[in-house]
């Protein structure tokens, strides 16, 4: 159990180490590396959402002057199905290969079928036009409800529903069924005085990162290769590329560039194996960059869902039963975040009778990727909307209803663990006591709230701390920094070492430069990589104390470490870190320490958001006029960046609630493949998002840290849509609450 301590650096708002590089434009992102002799590549993409590939003729492209290599799936070795953990989610490596370059079938409009490397981008662009692909068109399946029909066109002849009692004999678009249950659901509903039941729908959404996927690769004569790319996890890029190309890990070095956003979207790969094949064939370095349209058409969005939720409660607000059926779109290949959705959906509540079924369904859209708390926002949108409706029917305050049923320390979570200290009740209390929740509303305005739960991940981290001879410090980590984590790493090292944070330089090493690190995802980095840093820093302190003890010829227990200085408790003699490090060569060698661990005990982070909206009754336009994000951080290392995570997640969730959606035409072609018509909120669309950092320490972490990166995207969907419901008096169960949909609801109310 962590004790309440006075910290010197933890909890400060220090300057971020990557700040200057980013604001001056000096920082190098995915598309910024250019090598001598480098070629430019372009991917040839499918014009159909669903088709069989009859033939690919690359001869004309190869004959074009300036074209140095052409690649198709035939250049990938045949590989067997195998599951690889990538970030919070996992991928079948055979599917991943086919997603990088289609084999036999194209499964979505924009699916990669071939690629060209040429001496200029213009020539590469022309060359892909010269590749002739013969297709046999098939009917696209664009929606889960279509996909699960008995007569639906089948995407994969070899996909059989997993998770059924009996192994099916016919292939299906349902990749997996999952079920969790507890108690007796029928008895639970029989006990209820009030029951709400409704269907909910959420669209395919984009993570909204600004930087398109990009890489520059080099395959060398000696079989070594280098990949420079923007990714949340360069070790996973290495692992998946190695599997797809049947290479040894030691032959691939991956360097993570600075990253212009990922939000889960950069935990998988699209380009790297393709570019490596082109580099190997041409003998030249190759740069392959997606444009924005390709990002929308062919990289992994967040999963669209359809859910059915039923909740029953007694008159006093005790929830007696919760039931859900959740369908998730996986896109072209199995593996939607259905399972976490099933595990999260009702987890904020301690309820005796629960039954959840989930289905992972393939459709002719790009394979979904992780998106901040993958699977949770969709499921919890449905569940939290149902709780709000239940509160209305019970004539109870929605916070009181939640407090009455809230999970707390000791609650048995349906997905396995018994909760240790968690902060849901504290977040709900903070919402109830906020000035915001007590403020009056005006005409056409509505308010609502929602809670959110996310597990958070631990996974593996490796770090090295090297002491320089002048007492300054290099912290070598391997977790790409997507949210300011370098600052937090430096602060934790500073805290343990007692050395000023400005003297500490955190760097993110390539895959050859530091031990294995899992992807930055699952809100794990500050928690898990931070734990490794604390451990390594403690080792460094111990070594420095040992050197001082040796110099003074005293035992180790006579040496204290105070603010970066060794103090001899007997005679008050002092040796600073700088003095110890300067002399290290003659006292036993340079001082450094490493730590490699798999972090256990990632504490869940609960969030509660309060949303006020105003609806224009004539146009259906919704303005968010006040918004408060409350969340348990365990311990906020850098409060500014914690608040930034709360605000960022809220902004993304508000966009999901109000305007964001992929719009496909009847042929399965995305109509809004860009930020003009895929409407993420602009700064001017949002009020200042107020934040409250709740700190219920995570008992498994030395400082009490919980991951904070994801939970904040969960509550906005239900908080905002329920606020709209309250403003107009019609339940909004389908997202987004775009102006035409809201106006229609208003008109249906009035007719």
């Amino acid at each position: 159990m962590s004790e309440v301590k006075d910290y010197k650096y933890i909890g400060q708002r220090t300057i971020r180490p990557d700040g200057f590089d980013k604001v001056t434009g000096r920082a190098n992102f995915g598309a910024d590396l250019t090598l001598p002799g480098m070629l430019w590549a372009r991917v040839k993409r499918s014009p159909y959402a669903h088709a069989r590939i009859i033939d690919i003729d690359t001869s004309k492209a190869e004959a074009l002057a300036g074209v140095m290599a052409v690649a198709t799936a035939a250049d990938f070795p045949a590989i067997a199905s195998e599951t690889l953990q990538m970030g919070e989610t996992s991928a079948d490596i055979r599917d991943l290969a086919r997603n990088n370059l289609a084999l036999e079938k194209v499964l979505y409009h924009g699916h990669a079928v071939a690629a060209v490397a040429a001496v200029s981008q213009t020539i590469a662009d022309q060359a892909v036009e010269l590749i002739e692909v013969e297709y046999a068109e098939l009917t696209p399946v664009m929606d889960v409800l279509e996909a699960i029909k008995d007569d639906a066109p089948i995407l994969h002849d070899d996909l059989f529903t997993a998770g059924l009692a009996e192994t099916p004999e016919t292939p299906s678009n349902i990749a997996m069924r999952m079920e969790l249950k507890k108690g007796d659901i029928d008895a639970g509903f029989a006990e209820a005085d009030v029951i709400v039941e409704r269907e909910y729908q959420t669209p395919t959404v984009h993570q909204g990162y600004i930087e398109p996927h990009a890489c520059t690769v080099r395959y060398d004569e000696d079989g070594q290769s280098m990949i420079w790319c923007c990714t949340q996890g360069h070790f996973d890029v290495r692992a998946s590329t190695a599997k797809i190309l049947n290479m040894e890990l030691s032959k691939i070095k991956v360097i993570a560039s600075e990253i212009g956003g990922g939000f889960g979207g950069k935990t998988t790969i699209y380009l790297e194996p393709v570019a490596l094949v082109l580099s190997k064939k041409s003998g030249r370095p190759v740069k392959l960059v997606m444009n924005r349209e390709e990002v929308f058409r062919a990289s992994g969005p967040g999963s669209a869902t359809r859910s059915w939720i039923k909740v029953g409660a007694r008159k006093d607000g005790t929830i007696t039963a919760m039931q859900g059926i959740l369908h998730y779109e996986a896109g072209a290949f199995k593996g939607s975040p259905m399972a976490p959705g099933v595990m999260c959906v009702f987890t904020p509540y301690d309820v005796a009778n629960v039954h959840i079924e989930g289905f992972d369904v393939v459709v002719n859209k790009p394979k979904v990727a992780a998106y901040r708390a993958p699977g949770a926002p969709q499921a919890e949108f449905a569940a939290e909307s149902a709780i709000n409706e239940l509160a209305d029917k019970l004539d109870m305050d929605p916070i009181e209803l939640r407090l009455k049923n809230a999970a707390k320390e000791g609650t048995q979570a349906i997905y396995g663990p018994k909760f240790k200290a968690i902060g849901l009740v504290e977040c709900l209390e903070a919402a109830k006591n906020s000035a915001h929740y007590k403020s009056p509303l005006g005409k056409n305005q509505g308010r609502s709230i929602a809670a959110g739960f996310w597990f958070n991940a631990g996974m593996s981290s490796s770090v090295v701390i090297n002491m320089n001879p002048d007492g300054t410090v290099v912290v070598v980590e391997g977790s790409p920094d997507i949210g300011g984590s370098r600052a937090s790493m430096a602060m934790m090292a500073a805290e343990e070492l007692g050395i000023a944070v400005e003297k500490i330089k955190p760097i993110i090493a390539d895959t050859d430069g530091v031990g294995l690190n899992s992807t930055t995802g699952g809100s794990r980095t500050t928690f898990a990589t931070g734990m490794a840093i604390i451990e390594a820093a403690q080792d460094v302190v111990k070594q420095m104390k040992e050197r001082a003890a040796a110099v003074w010829n005293v035992t180790l227990d006579q040496v204290d470490w105070v603010d970066g200085v060794a103090v001899n408790t007997a005679d008050e003699a002092r040796l600073s870190a700088a003095e110890i490090c300067a002399a290290a060569g003659s006292t036993g060698g340079p001082i450094s320490a490493r730590a490699s661990l798999t972090a256990r005990g990632a504490g869940p982070s609960f969030a509660v958001h309060v949303a006020d909206v105003e609806v224009d009754p004539d146009t259906g336009k919704v303005d968010v006029i006040r918004y408060t994000a409350i969340q348990d951080a365990g311990k906020a290392i850098h409060p500014g960046y914690v608040e930034g995570q709360y605000q960022g997640g809220a902004a993304q969730g508000i966009g999901w609630a109000l305007n964001e959606e992929y719009i496909y035409d009847e042929n399965g072609v995305l109509e809004n493949a860009g930020y003009l018509d895929y409407r993420i909120p602009l700064a001017s669309d949002l009020p200042m998002i107020e934040t409250v950092i709740v700190e219920v320490p995570n008992p498994f972490h030395p400082y009490g840290v919980r991951g904070v990166g994801e939970s904040s995207i969960i509550p906005p969907l239900a908080a905002v849509s329920s606020a709209v419901s309250n403003a107009i008096g019609v339940r909004m169960s389908e997202l987004p609450c775009s102006p035409p949909r809201v106006l229609k609801a208003i008109q249906s109310r009035d007719n």
């Binding site: 146009t619 669309d685 775009s738």
Partner: protein, 290 residues
């Protein structure tokens, strides 16, 4: 390799000559480039000669006098919207220019470019038609003047030949008791394309009775439409609710929008009526404030 030539002449005469001499390859004039450069990047087979108008002084200034406004079409919107004198006389035109893109875009984008790009959703076009603006066009054979409502002929099409240039935008001085307003609907606050738009100019007498009106709707037909029936609904009224409602209904009826990802037919028809009513109210309030 595609080579694009760039010229920046100092006078309109030179510019016209560059265009009319250029017979062997496609040429385009450039103002702020916020349409043209975006199109260049997404198109194959675009122009091979670009004639930049921004070095020509008479394309870049604006004169407001007793005859009205003579606007150099390539003046950027940021400069136009900073002109208090113009804003006082034509608040609707200035608010339309202020809606284009964002601060950064307005530092480049021009009213002339908006007009010549001739998008059905262009924001300044309904505002210009509402104030009876005309286009002064120059070409190898001299000059001609065309009302804005006749200038735009279709989606992305206008009445100019490839060697003609929009030289000035001429707006008459409004009659006493006149004010204009422009409103558009987008799902967000900025950086979006109009789902529907409405430009309105009204003239009220001393008793608050509407004696003249021009109502123009945008983004709900291939070109911005002047809707006389909507204006007639207001003329003779004191701008009461019934009159406003009738004007809105006339605007909705005149619209012929398409169903697309930015809005359904139904939604656009409804919203263009709402905007018409609201813009008319704003314009009338502006008259009363004067």
């Amino acid at each position: 390799m595609v080579v694009i030539e760039y010229e920046a002449p100092q006078s309109l005469g030179e510019a016209v000559k560059l265009l009319s001499d250029c017979t062997d390859k496609p040429a385009r004039v450039l103002a702020g480039g916020t349409d043209l450069i975006v199109q260049l990047r997404s198109q194959v087979g675009g122009p091979q000669l670009i004639v930049d108008l921004k070095k020509i002084p008479e394309m870049m200034d604006a004169v407001l006098d007793e005859n009205g406004l003579s606007l150099g079409p390539s003046m950027c919107c940021a400069e136009l919207t900073a002109r208090q004198d113009i804003k006082t006389v034509y608040p609707g035109l200035v608010e339309a220019a202020y809606l284009i893109g964002s601060t950064q875009i307005q530092g480049r984008a021009s009213v002339g470019g908006n007009l010549c790009n001739s998008s059905p959703a262009a924001d300044t076009i309904p505002a210009l038609i509402a104030i009876a603006a005309e286009c002064l066009i120059i070409g190898p054979d001299g000059e001609r003047q065309v009302p804005v409502e006749d200038f735009v002929t279709g989606v992305g099409e206008n009445c100019m030949a490839s060697d003609e240039i929009l030289k000035r935008i001429i707006v008459p001085l409004p009659a006493a008791g006149t004010a204009d307003a422009y409103l558009r609907f987008i799902p967000r606050t900025e950086m979006d394309i109009a789902v529907a738009g409405a430009g309105v100019s009204v003239t009220l007498d001393n008793n608050g009775i509407c004696t003249a009106a021009r109502i123009v709707i945008g983004a709900v037909a291939p070109t911005a439409l002047l809707v006389p029936a909507a204006a007639e609904a207001l003329v003779g009224s004191d701008m009461n609710d019934t009159a406003l409602q009738n004007a809105a209904a006339a605007a909705s009826a005149a619209s012929s929008p398409i169903d697309d990802l930015r809005g359904t037919i139904e939604y656009r028809q409804h919203v263009v009526g709402v905007l018409t009513r609201r813009a008319a109210v704003i314009a009338a309030d502006r008259v009363k404030e004067k």
